[in-house]
């Protein structure tokens, strides 16, 4: 039995009304990065950028976001450009590249299959046709499915601000749930994936109740490169179990310099489970999530390091 005075809106509010209509907002379509930045500055945090809208519209409809203005960036050519392999082997992915384009991109499938494989587990074909990789990262959900693979690949992000262009490691980009280094006055231009180390093998695992249309309860990306039977490079990254996607250096350290035998993998998986700081919510309890981290990390490592 529970007294209920502690929750719910204050007694002065009349109660709950389920709104069908979006609250009013101004719609602006930017055609260049400077224009987008100018508009962002004008609204000082009271505007939201719109790419595919698959996060923004849901948030507006549920009242999580009530922006004064929506700045559509879909037609900003400098944020598009798809997938390009630069000289030296680095891959540049325009922020507006759709999830579907990433899923099907031949270059990515050849060079870094981890990313398209992870993207293929997201949402549904319809949402993937619409949603963008930039939107997924900038929305900064702890469960964002492109984050663990990109972190495992040591990706960087290129940001446009009024002061110019800045490149930073993706690992520093996420600052909290729904929060990034972008602040309120920057635009994500591109994601840069360095040329992967020779012989890199990587795997992605996502646990949810459903096979599609599912937010990860736990996701895991691992990447391992071996030289003459010894692990020389290791990345272990977790999604949905901390305020931001989480790299686990302690687990990586237990792998590097070792052959990657069953005990090495178990130890790394245990380290990952310890590093996870999951919450309990409708999708799963914190204990369960930790348990699943251990299993998924071990299985992913077995696939790539065994």
């Amino acid at each position: 039995m529970e007294a209920c005075a502690t929750h719910g809106p204050s007694a002065s509010a009349g109660g709950r009304v389920f709104r069908a209509a979006l609250p009013p907002f101004e719609y602006l379509a930017a055609t260049s990065v400077p224009e987008a930045l100018r508009l962002l500055a004008k609204f000082r945090g009271r505007a939201v950028l719109l790419a595919g809208g698959t996060d923004v519209l849901v948030q507006m409809r549920t009242g999580k976001r009530v922006p004064e203005a929506v700045i559509d960036i879909k037609r900003v050519a400098a944020l598009g450009g798809g997938v390009k392999v630069e000289r030296g082997g680095r891959i540049a992915i325009g922020a507006l590249t759709t999830l579907a384009d990433i899923e099907h991109d031949a270059k990515l499938r050849r060079l870094v299959p981890l990313l398209p494989e992870a993207v293929a587990t997201m949402a549904s074909p319809q949402v993937r046709n619409r949603g963008t990789i930039g939107g997924n990262l900038c929305n900064a959900a702890p469960s964002a499915d492109t984050a663990p693979p990109l972190l495992a690949l040591d990706a960087l992000v290129r940001l446009h601000t009024r002061k110019g262009v800045r490149t930073m490691p993706l690992a520093e980009f996420f600052t909290g749930p729904g929060r990034t280094a972008l602040g309120t006055d920057a635009v994500l231009g591109a994601i840069l994936v360095p040329k992967p180390p020779r012989g890199l093998r990587a795997a992605f695992r996502k646990h949810g109740v459903r096979e599609a249309m599912e937010c990860a309860v736990v996701s895991v990306a691992v990447a391992v490169a071996k030289e003459r039977g010894t692990i020389r490079h290791a990345r272990v990254v977790l999604g949905a179990v901390a305020p931001t996607p989480l790299r686990v250096p302690a687990a990586e350290a237990l792998l590097v310099g070792h052959p990657g035998g069953p005990l090495d993998l178990l130890a790394a998986a245990g380290e990952a489970a310890d590093a996870a700081r999951p919450i309990t919510d409708v999708r799963g309890s914190s204990d369960y999530r930790r348990d699943v981290v251990r299993t998924l990390v071990r299985r992913a490592l077995e696939e790539v390091a065994g």
């Binding site: 209920c4 929750h7 007694a11 002065s12 009349g14 109660g15 009304v17 459903r210 599609a212 369960y288």
Partner: protein, 771 residues
């Protein structure tokens, strides 16, 4: 047996084309000139006293026509026990509660006006657990129910179950808990109400019970039933949720009456999750015993239902829950008691299966456990106890046709019951028993059909039988076409207007193909009787020698001689003192209303089925994958094979969701997952690829062409079959739905711990790797 030309074939539903192309008009597509938009302000508290409501700012908002609160309207209460006020005036009892309603020229203005209403609440202690609500010190939810018990008890006793169990060779007992599940109708609720100048109400509605709705609305609004007309557009799903008349429907009418304009209320998807009824959670304590030979001796069952804050038809689910518990297998001693308890949770309603899925989850898992204890194969154990045709069950159900044994045998064989299993794989089976020939839960279980054959040989069936997506229209059209020898394309069904179509009690209890099908046959047979003399005359033979098929009448002894039916009709019609071909039938099945002791042959026949399933359980995440699903159903007779397969497949999908993933998470009276993202209804990708459906035709003498009702049957045994398969795969049994990965893993871990503990006693301490 056949010789049928249409019955038994695979026919796309009559509305398939419209639905697939988007031409179908649902309630959300209907609007009227001058129509206003209605919105409802709901309680933020699960339990609170309303001290003051101030609507002045809402009324002053431009576009607002009308703001209603409890003290501004005179309106009767709703619900099966009349405990449900349409607008809550003194007190709110759950978070759905309607505190005010607004009609405005736009939806946005109506929403804004709701937000401007000030309400002063005094929160009251609330109770969310039925067991706690039964404690003497629990907060009281309804003044006239001091013990928080819904004043309607369900008790059934046959023989002496307690003694029979005490004397059993093997006994299984356990407590089973089921969850809140919601219908997930693809079309959220809507209501469109309009009064004509004379004060007559036209209600456009997705109700399952248009004729009962007439009287519900007449009582609530204080107008005569003749002044209520119910129209039904294409209905986008109901599954039992629209067996009741809901406050939003009455509110649309009240707003229309007070504003003098048509008013439409549409739910948002979130509102649908929070405010539409649910399947009632149950706590079921059950014990079942058997003798050394594996024959059931007795069963005791006590169930506690979370009724939520108000009583809907859902509170009568123990009636149907009991049918499976008492009558799936031969049982001589049964005792049953069910109690519905008020809580401050959202209130529960009727939902496909009507209590039987909950009960079957318990009793079919107990059958499995009992078979194990008795050392008998679970399929063999069930077959040993299965009902036989022409028997009477403890509740007085007269089982006429019964192919349960064949269903069990087919399902087990096809799933590979005795085939070797890989690690972590398991097989499970469960049977089910359900009403298949109507269900007399109301004084009449009847349906009226008027059939009219026009001078182009187009047949129109006018009926009150509602189509909610089950394909009942198509089945009726097929029966009529078969009987009159018309192509299916010559038949249409009109069933959307209480002014035009004759009475029907409503679509529930898997009854429509059986009842409306029989009514259809009655009506078209009258036409046939009128037509045959004209055919005989035209063909120069006796009436006995006439056959009707392919749109013509034929001389049986001389296939060269035929006459188009339309020509016969015109011959009869266009002449002096001509004749019109109309037939009508009001079919009320030979079944009984149950007495207060829960006895009486509630259905004219009963349906049986068995589901068998092969699963693989991930021992480290708890995720259950269904590798193969076999459903075997005693359906009497296949009318539309395609529609039947669709009904079973859909029910299996809903049943798998019920078993593994679906749960409306209600915490502190609040819904925590009001979206399809977090309410885990399954998608195509989640459903097993290998699904086999088998129909066993037991040719029921009471059914139309031998058919029995089926549309709930596919959901009922599914969760138990999966539970049994999980037990087979993992060695652990789950007593709680849904059997989510997390709960399966917890059960496996607990089982391992138990095994480890017992091992420790023998071998001393062990360290386990990985922990």
């Amino acid at each position: 047996m056949s010789g049928h030309r249409i019955v038994g074939t695979k026919v796309p539903k009559l509305d398939a084309w419209d639905k697939a192309t988007g031409a179908a008009r649902y309630g959300h597509d209907v609007s009227l000139p001058g129509m206003l938009h209605g919105k409802i302000l709901r309680s933020p508290h699960p339990h609170a006293r309303i001290k003051r409501i101030d609507v002045r700012r809402a009324e002053a908002l431009p576009g607002v026509h009308c703001v209603l609160t409890a003290d501004r309207v005179r309106v009767g209460k709703l619900g099966f026990l009349g405990d449900h006020p349409v607008l809550k005036g003194d007190k709110v009892r759950c978070v759905r509660d309607e505190v005010a309603a607004v009609a405005a020229t736009s939806e946005a203005a109506a929403e804004e006006a709701c937000a401007l209403i000030r309400v002063e609440y005094e929160p009251l202690p609330a109770v969310f657990d039925p067991l706690e609500a039964m404690q003497p010190e629990a907060p009281r939810i309804h003044e006239n129910a001091p013990d928080n018990l819904v004043p309607h008890r369900y008790e059934f006793r046959h023989g002496d179950a307690e003694r029979a169990i005490a004397g059993s060779a093997h006994v299984v007992q356990g407590t089973y808990r089921t969850q809140f599940m919601t219908h997930c109708c693809l079309e959220p609720c809507f209501a469109l109400a309009a009064f004509d100048p004379a004060g007559r109400l036209t209600m456009t509605s997705s109700t399952q019970v248009p004729y009962l709705m007439q009287s519900h609305l007449s009582r609530a609004l204080g107008i005569h039933g003749k002044d209520v007309r119910v129209l039904q557009p294409t209905i986008g799903g109901a599954f039992g949720s629209k067996l009741d008349t809901h406050p939003y429907e009455v509110l649309a009418a009240l707003l229309a009456r007070h504003s003098g304009r048509p008013v439409r209320i549409l739910y948002t998807r979130e509102e649908e999750f929070v405010c539409a009824p649910t399947r009632q959670p149950m706590i079921i304590r059950m014990a079942t015993g058997c003798d050394r030979e594996g024959r059931l001796t007795g069963r005791v069952c006590e169930a506690i239902l979370d009724n939520g804050a108000y009583t809907s038809w859902g509170a009568t689910t123990p009636h149907i829950m009991l049918v499976g518990i008492s009558s799936l297998y031969k049982l001589e001693h049964v005792s049953f008691r069910a109690t519905c308890v008020y809580t401050n949770n959202p209130w529960s309603g009727a939902f496909r299966g009507y209590g039987n899925p909950q009960g079957t989850f318990a009793n079919e898992q107990q059958m499995d456990e009992l078979a194990r204890k008795a050392g008998i194969d679970p399929v063999e154990f069930r077959i040993r106890n299965a009902n036989d045709p022409n028997s009477t069950t403890p509740q007085g159900f007269r089982v006429t046709t019964c192919a349960l044994k064949e269903c069990l045998d087919t399902a087990a064989t096809r799933v590979g019951w005795r085939e070797p299993k890989r690690p972590n794989e398991g097989v499970g089976i469960a049977g089910m028993f359900h009403v298949g020939g109507g269900g007399r839960v109301y004084k009449s279980d009847a349906c009226g059909v008027i059939a009219k054959l026009d001078d182009f040989a187009h047949l129109t069936l006018l009926t009150g039988a509602t189509e909610i997506g089950t394909g009942s229209d198509t089945a009726m059209a097929m029966l009529a076409a078969e009987e009159l020898g018309l192509p299916l394309g010559n038949v249409s069904v009109i069933n959307n207007d209480t002014d035009a179509a004759p009475w029907d009690v409503g679509i529930h209890a898997s009854r429509t193909t059986f009842i409306a099908g029989n009514a259809t046959l009655g009506a078209v047979r009258e036409i046939r009787r009128k037509l045959l003399p004209w055919a005989a005359k035209e063909l120069g033979c006796s009436e006995d020698a006439v056959e009707l098929h392919d749109g013509s009448a034929w001389r049986r002894d001389d296939p060269a001689r035929s006459a188009p039916i339309e020509k016969l009709v015109r011959t009869a019609h266009f002449r002096e003192q001509g004749e019109m071909f109309v037939g009508q039938c009001f079919y009320d099945p030979p079944n009984q209303f149950q007495d207060p002791k829960m006895r009486g042959n509630v259905s004219a026949t009963y349906s049986f089925a068995a589901h068998a399933v092969r699963v693989r359980v991930d021992p480290e995440t708890g995720k259950v994958k269904i590798l193969k699903f076999v459903a075997a159903h005693d359906i009497g007779k296949v009318i539309n094979r395609l529609g039947l397969e669709g009904q079973i497949e859909g029910a299996i999908a809903q049943g798998i969701g019920y078993a593994l993933t679906e749960q409306l998470r209600i915490d502190g009276g609040r819904v925590g997952n009001a979206s399809f993202l977090d309410y885990k209804m399954l998608n195509a990708a989640d459903l097993p690829e290998d699904v086999e459906i088998h129909f066993i035709e037991s040719a029921d003498p009471a059914g139309p062409y031998g058919a029995k009702g089926v549309s709930e049957a596919g959901l009922i045994p599914t969760a138990a079959a999966i539970g049994n398969a999980i037990r087979d795969a993992t060695g652990v049994r789950l007593h709680r739905l849904p059997m989510s990965p997390e709960s399966v893993l917890a059960a496996i871990r607990a089982g391992e711990q138990e095994a480890l503990d017992s091992e420790l006693e023998v071998t001393g301490p062990l360290t386990r790797s990985g922990t």
